[in-house]
């Protein structure tokens, strides 16, 4: 097959931009699964919820979706805190999190997705913003703004989170709770409260990731399911608990998906992520940068 340099370079560039976005989608799971060891497979459900809320705000009030998401993030934070509290009170306290905790999140994923279907229907929804449409040209490379802006926002989000986790007291307490809960208790910090804050933070990121998603592509409720595999593939590939690892893993996946899509057709895209996941789990489960 003829591989033109032009096509390849653009596929790579698109892959990088896509990867940046994927990192924003995944960073919440890096926190909840990588650091807190909670398998929140409902994460994509929250992202789609975020997309739809951004959609409503954008179509009813005309506000830019990303700005709306940042404003709404605290509401998602509260929701995350609520969900964690339920998870803790019902499962974690009793050590039942493996079977029942998983089933709980699975149920939540379905409830969220189907409720959205019932409210909004299965039509694709999209938002309107000044950067959806135009692109900038750098030499051979064509960078659509609707991919570039989300990528930049994603990088900013991850940078902010990494700073928070490594520099602030609360952030370091979160990293600590993953490693030694007893020591944390002895320092008079409540592990449950710290975990709740961390989980709430991970759900808050879904508000922003959801807005980014609907900027990049039109959204319908069942799209969330494609992202389950991507999110966990990136998390595992990058190494659990490592935000820089998540970023690298996301870029890798984005590039591979983009190249596959360009040269073999988009219908193979879902298999790429999941294939990645299976291979990583089989070969190097600790990921590239894992602990």
């Amino acid at each position: 097959m003829y591989v033109s340099a032009d096509l390849l370079i653009n596929a790579l560039a698109a892959g990088l931009l896509l990867g940046g976005f994927y990192a924003a989608v995944t960073v919440g799971v890096s926190i909840s699964f990588g650091i807190l060891d909670i398998v929140n497979i409902a994460h994509p459900g929250f992202i789609i919820l975020g997309s739809y809320i951004a959609y409503i705000v954008n179509t009813r009030l005309g506000i830019d979706p990303i700005i709306a998401a940042v404003v709404l993030a605290p509401a998602f934070y509260a929701l995350g805190a609520l969900v964690y509290q339920v998870y803790y009170a019902s499962f974690e306290r009793y050590g039942q999190e493996s079977l029942r905790g998983l089933a709980f999140f699975f149920g939540l994923l379905f409830v969220t997705e189907v409720t959205l279907i019932l409210v909004f229907g299965v039509d694709y929804r999209y938002v309107d913003a000044p950067y959806i449409g135009p692109s900038i040209q750098i030499g051979l490379i064509d960078l659509p703004l609707r991919m570039l802006v989300p990528c930049l926002v994603a990088l900013a989000l991850i940078g902010a989170l990494q700073l928070f986790l490594s520099r602030s007291f609360l952030g370091r307490a979160i990293m600590a709770v993953a490693q030694d809960q007893l020591a944390l208790q002895l320092m008079a910090a409540s592990p449950t409260r710290i975990k709740r804050i961390a989980f709430a933070l991970s759900i808050a990121t879904t508000a922003i990731a959801g807005a980014l998603l609907i900027v990049i592509q039109p959204v319908e409720p069942s799209i969330g399911r494609e992202y389950i595999g991507r999110v966990f593939a990136i998390c595992v590939l990058g190494g659990l608990g490592s935000l820089p690892g998540t970023l690298i893993g996301a870029f890798l996946l984005g590039i591979v998906e983009s190249v596959t899509s360009t040269f073999y057709g988009p219908s193979w895209a879902p298999a790429v992520a999941f294939g990645f996941l299976l291979i990583t789990l089989a070969v190097r489960p600790a990921g590239l940068f894992g602990r």
Binding site: F33, D37, V39, I41, L82, V83, Q85, V86, A89, S90, Y94, Q96, S98, L99, R100, L102, A103, F104, F106, G107, L108, L109, F110, V111, V114, T115, I117, L118, R225, E226, I228, G229, F232, A233, V236, S267, W268, P270, A271, F274, G275, L277, L278, L281, A282, P285
Partner: protein
């Protein structure tokens, strides 16, 4: 009771079921019954890996669809085989297809298990999700078996000496259900079952006690996968036209988890109860509500069950109390309360015939209000959702008043804290 005796009893019950179904005189019983039987097999199969061994499989649809598509492939590859049962030539007899489906799904289960079971249970669960999507993508892109356009499997109208073809399929599925139950029960009572339980309770301690955990987990995955593949093999003949979206339908993943959890995961009876109850409910409801609302109900039942009645119906019957104290946490009370209002709202918008399904969720709300009310000393709290339920039964229910009643209940339930500190011991 010895396994052989149990098997005989199952066969007798199955035969009686078949005869009773024929007496009804309406083929619809067979069509609906086939689906319920299918779920008995799927739920039982899931439970061997999930309930007995503690490893959650989110990709039941993958193994089911493998069996179904193996049938489609063989149907296309070997279209003409004559047997003396039927006049027209048709593909390999279904029992053979069932065995092939079992072997293929079993091998895939084994392979996937080998790749992922050395890691933690969470990774295995995620990998099963991945498997389902990868398989669906492959099959959607594989035009030999029809790809996304689908494949037709022509089935004969009648088969001697039984009669209508659907009755033959029903009989086959009955046999599979009996097989699944016998397998599950004999595992439960055997050394293998004890090993599974040890793995589920504490895998590290099981290893230290001499249990070869990897080997046993692989056995569980293989048996579970094989049974699911068997359930899938006759499916193309049942449905006539098979598309990836129907073979990999969400219903299979959700139901094969919901049914054992609602019925009770510790024994073979649990998935049976869950499959019969939930399966029949869905068959009845399928006429009156959309498939989305159906999935909503099942998803919500999973959430309710897992928090309120973690041991399922079986646990309730055995006298294990529900986790009543868990509503002491205001977050649990408010999330569960809010989330159970959703299906009531949507069921109201469906046909009137769907209303009875609401009762399930009114019952949950009443239970929540009762338990919470008792803990915070507001015993009248339970009256509010009861009133709401009564209101919803009238032909033209006052939605606003119902919403108000529920809102008051939620707020009132949250203003006070429980009077007695909740015991910290495990339920």
């Amino acid at each position: 009771m010895r396994t052989f005796t149990f098997a005989l009893i199952c066969v007798a019950v199955a035969a009686a079921t078949f005869v009773a179904a024929r007496l009804v005189g309406n083929d619809y019983v067979f069509f609906a019954g086939y689906v319920v039987l299918q779920y008995i097999v799927l739920a039982t199969a899931w439970n061997i890996l999930g309930g007995y061994t503690g490893y959650v499989n989110f990709g039941s649809a993958a193994f089911f669809a493998l069996g179904a598509y193996a049938t489609v492939f063989l149907h296309k590859a070997f279209p003409v085989v004559t047997t003396y049962f039927v006049d027209e030539p048709y593909a390999l007899p279904i029992p053979v297809l069932i065995v092939i489906g079992a072997v293929i799904s079993g091998i895939v289960g084994l392979g996937m298990g080998y790749l992922t079971l050395r890691l933690r249970g969470a990774f295995f669960a995620i990998a099963t999700l991945a498997l389902a999507v990868v398989l669906q993508t492959f099959i959607t892109n594989w035009s030999y078996v029809g790809g996304s356009r689908g494949a037709y499997v022509i089935r004969p109208n009648d088969i001697e000496p039984i009669g209508p073809y659907i009755q033959y399929l029903f009989l086959l599925m009955l046999a599979l259900a009996v097989l699944a139950l016998v397998v599950a029960r004999s595992i439960e009572r055997s050394r293998l079952g004890l090993g599974f339980a040890a793995i589920r309770d504490d895998e590290l301690a099981a290893e230290a006690s001499g249990v070869p955990t990897l080997k046993l987990k692989l056995i569980a995955t293989t048996i579970s996968g094989a049974l699911m593949g068997m359930a899938g093999a006759p499916f193309p003949y049942y449905i006539g036209y098979l598309q990836p979206t129907s073979a990999f339908a969400l219903d299979y993943a959700v139901n094969s988890i919901a049914m054992p959890m609602i019925g009770g995961t510790t024994s073979w009876i649990g998935p049976l109860i869950g499959a019969i109850l939930l399966g029949s409910l869905q068959q009845v409801a399928t006429v009156t509500i959309s498939s989305s609302v159906n999935l909503l109900i099942v998803g919500l039942l999973i959430v309710d069950c897992v928090i309120i009645a973690p041991t399922g119906i079986l646990g309730l019957l055995q006298g294990r109390r529900t986790a009543r104290d868990v509503v002491a946490d205001p977050a649990v009370f408010s999330l569960l309360f809010a989330v159970n209002v959703i299906p009531i709202y949507f069921l109201h918008q469906e046909a009137f015939a769907a209303r009875p399904l609401e009762i399930i969720f009114w019952a949950v709300l009443i239970f929540l209000a009762f338990a919470r009310g008792r803990l915070i000393g507001l015993r009248w709290l339970v009256g509010l959702p009861i009133a709401g339920a009564a209101l919803s039964m009238v032909p033209d229910p006052p939605r606003l008043i119902m919403a108000l009643v529920l809102a008051i209940c939620l707020v009132a339930g949250l203003v006070r804290r429980p009077r007695d500190p909740v015991a910290r011991s495990t339920p």
